[in-house]
């Protein structure tokens, strides 16, 4: 578990973007979305929640605060702290796997 990404998230000003969108390979079964990133060689499974977060980041670079507000627009209500934590966790994981990077 890396300490650096969460340190940046504490001030929530890090702008994340998805670097290799064009090269990603996707497949899906049941309710899972499986991603292969040719740059890293990693294969990972995303549930719909994580997929949504990645989609939002693929739309354009944004900070975690932006993510929160866009998510709230989609689900049409405020995010509870638990859900916000989950979003932050997912962003940290994406960063660790190299799918996203701070700009």
């Amino acid at each position: 578990m890396a300490i650096m990404p969460s340190e940046e998230l504490i001030n929530k000003s890090a702008v994340y973007h998805v670097v290799n969108t064009a090269d990603f390979l996707w497949t899906s079964f049941e309710d899972s979305n499986i991603l292969y990133d040719p740059a890293s060689g990693h294969t990972q499974v995303l549930n719909d929640f994580a997929r949504e977060i990645l989609d939002l980041l693929e739309d354009g670079p944004k900070t975690v605060s932006h993510l929160f507000s866009e998510f709230e627009e989609i689900i049409e209500k405020e995010l509870d702290p638990d859900l916000k934590n989950k979003i932050v966790e997912t962003v940290i994981n994406f960063d660790n796997m190299g799918i996203i990077e701070p700009v």
Binding site: L25, T27, E30, S32, I34, Y36, P38, T43, V45
Partner: protein, 346 residues
């Protein structure tokens, strides 16, 4: 037998060989008797075909040659120089190791560091050497650590770790009408999406040895002919090798698309059960079972995605070989559409 006689013998007995593979119609394959094979094996070595690979084999210990021939005598051998995938040599490194305290050193030409074993169990060294060459040297075919069998347009992959009984299950199915692709290394052609047979000595360990002997004896009175001696004292316990059924050897170039993935779990105390699994789970099990998935990359991902899309998948828990075979047959029967099987004929 002169050469033209042996060639027509080949044509009659091994009808798939000249046609199905693009490597082989260039070269002369021959059927040689044991004494001729023995002579060549101990001399400069002789090139043989195992599935898609051509390998030159040289063995300097008589007992190892005998064991080798028990398994491989009916495999295709080449009478002329060919381009080889691999070359393997089994010999003693010096006079002491060759004659006084015979110890089998295996040269795979692929930087292996395996410990030499006593020449008495040199066959184990040889088979481990074959495994090393394929595991390290084959990146052009997607490789699964799995038992693979095929029948009438059905291609079944059984990915599993050691101890799951996959070798025994693959062997068991192959002696009940299935074509043995491999008990350990499933290979997939990335272009055509077809499973490539790679039939070799089936390696049986400890308890599986009497189980398989009994199994083969039900169909063959001369079942002992199919087994090498048992080799005790290997790093994995006692090992014994089983020769693939004749038909599997003859059909070694017959390819089939995979359409079933079954994860075998051996538990001697269990109730036999077919358990559904998600396709996501099956996908990752195939990925985890592949040693060269990482090296092949994108094409490996796409190929496995396609296999899982087009396959029926499940897990089976079984206490014995009999029940395992029953469960497999039941699952296949439940999901086989006779019309579809015809279209998939590979």
């Amino acid at each position: 037998m002169n050469l033209s006689e042996t060639n027509s013998f080949i044509k009659k007995e091994n009808q798939f060989m000249p046609v199905a593979s693009r490597f082989h119609n260039e070269n002369k394959l021959v059927k040689l008797n044991d004494s001729e094979l023995d002579k060549r094996l101990s001399g400069d070595g002789i090139a043989m075909e195992v599935g898609p690979f051509s390998v030159n084999v040289l063995i300097k210990f008589k007992n190892v040659r005998e064991d080798f021939l028990k398994i491989y005598r009916d495999f295709p051998f080449y009478d002329e120089p060919i381009v080889l995938d691999h070359s393997i040599s089994v010999f003693g490194r010096n006079l002491f190791r060759q004659y006084l305290r015979p110890q089998a050193f295996v040269e795979t030409e692929m930087n292996n560091d395996t410990i030499p074993l006593p020449a008495k169990i040199g066959m184990v060294s040889l088979e481990m050497g074959f495994n090393w060459q394929v595991a390290m040297g084959c990146k052009q075919y997607l490789m699964f650590h799995a038992g693979v069998v095929a029948r009438d347009g059905i291609g079944l992959i059984m990915p599993a770790m050691s101890g799951s009984g996959k070798s025994t299950l693959a062997a068991g199915l192959s002696f009940r009408g299935w074509q043995l692709h491999s008990d350990e290394f499933g290979l997939l052609d990335l272009d055509a999406g077809e499973l490539i047979p790679y039939p070799r000595a089936v390696s049986l360990k400890n308890q599986s040895i009497p189980v398989m002997k009994e199994w083969v004896s039900r169909e063959h009175d001369n079942y002992e002919d199919y087994f090498t001696p048992a080799y005790p004292g290997t790093p994995k316990g006692t090992i014994c090798y089983l020769r693939p059924p004749d038909q599997s050897i003859e059909e070694m170039h017959k390819r089939t698309k995979p359409n079933f993935v079954i994860l075998p779990i051996f538990d001697p105390n269990s109730e036999p059960k077919i358990r559904p699994i998600t396709k996501t789970m099956a996908f990752f099990r195939l990925v985890a079972s592949s040693a060269n998935y990482g090296d092949i990359g994108e094409r490996a991902f796409s190929s496995i995605a396609k296999i899982i899309e087009e396959s029926f998948v499940c897990e089976i828990i079984y206490p014995s070989l009999d029940t395992a075979v029953e469960l497999v047959e039941a699952f296949i029967a439940e999901h086989s559409d006779p019309k579809k099987a015809g279209q998939d004929d590979g």
